[in-house]
């Protein structure tokens, strides 16, 4: 079973890299990009076959390592 974790900075945390990307898009002539938020996607290949158990386990992984919940939020998709 596979899981995909999307880690993003929480709303309200200034994303300086996203801002730099927004500026770069503007200078390339892409008008109207009002905001860019940059995050990361982590794909996990799991031995677990039960979706609920996989979700619980990936949630624990996010809280312990994959995200820093002080500034980041995460979303888990079980695929």
């Amino acid at each position: 079973m596979k899981a995909r974790v999307t880690v993003m900075l929480k709303a309200g945390v200034l994303d300086v890299q996203g801002e730099a990307v927004r500026h770069a898009l503007g200078s390339l002539g892409f008008a109207g990009v009002n905001g860019v938020r940059q995050g990361k996607v982590i794909e996990l290949d799991l031995a677990e076959t039960d979706a609920a158990k996989a979700r619980a386990s990936v949630t624990a992984m996010c809280d312990k390592l994959l995200a820093n919940v002080v500034i980041e939020s995460y979303q888990i998709e079980i695929l």
Binding site: V13, L14, V16, Q17, K64, L65, V70, I71
Partner: protein, 222 residues
């Protein structure tokens, strides 16, 4: 007095930190990240700068889960001293020994230069050798030194006099110009500047020596 300096894969200030502790008069034990225990009788744990685990995932995140991390947490929980410098600061915040997080510098550039710092609190085991509000100059060398914490946390740090060092001219966007913060019991210090690179007049000046002599003095009193 005994110091332990931890080495992770990618640490690059571990030797300098060991030399700085020795220079101040500490016995130093070098500890590998795969060790699960600190040597007996360690008073202070030094978590050095560098790029532990290549800064993968987040700076310090993987080092904070390494086998030695449990022993460092226990040491701190028992009231032991911990000094985290640069990447070490990132590691100990990821361990949860200090609040907040070090984010990417607001200017997005790696900054390597000497900066002026104000000793915001001389009432700590790491800064007692300095005068309050003294200005010192230490090198910084980091890409992720932008100290970030929620508004309540920042107010708490300031209210409890837990900001040890502030930048005179903020180089990286840190909230409150914070360069170094103390734990609630004041025995854990995380700082982005490198005091261990400023303990010898021949290379880099001696403004950092006070961190180590403060600690030694504190322990001699205890």
């Amino acid at each position: 007095m005994k110091a332990a300096v931890i080495t992770f894969p990618g640490s690059n200030c571990d030797r300098d930190l060991a030399v700085a502790f020795e220079h101040a008069g500490f016995d130093v034990a070098r500890v590998w990240h795969k060790d699960t225990d600190l040597p007996a009788g360690v008073d202070v744990v030094g978590v050095p700068g560098g790029f532990s685990f290549g800064d993968y995932l987040r700076c310090g995140a993987i080092a904070a889960q390494s086998p030695i991390a449990g022993a460092v947490r226990q040491h701190a929980a028992k009231g032991g001293y911990v000094l985290g410098i640069c990447n070490g600061f990132q590691v100990i915040t990821e361990m949860g020994l200090l609040p907040g997080v070090l984010m990417r510098n607001s200017g997005l550039k790696f900054i390597c230069k000497s900066v002026d710092l104000v000793v915001a609190s001389a009432a700590s085991p790491f800064t007692s050798a300095y005068a309050a509000a003294q200005t010192i100059s230490l090198p910084i060398a980091h890409h992720d030194g932008n100290y970030t914490i929620d508004a309540d946390g920042l107010a708490r740090l300031q209210g409890e006099d837990r900001v040890a060092l502030r930048y005179s001219a903020n180089p990286n966007g840190s909230m409150g110009d914070i360069a170094g913060v103390l734990s609630e019991n004041r025995r854990v210090l995380g700082m982005m500047p490198h005091p261990e690179r400023a303990v010898d007049a021949r290379v880099g000046g001696t403004d950092g020596a006070g961190v180590f002599t403060s600690l030694l003095g504190e322990m001699a009193l205890a």
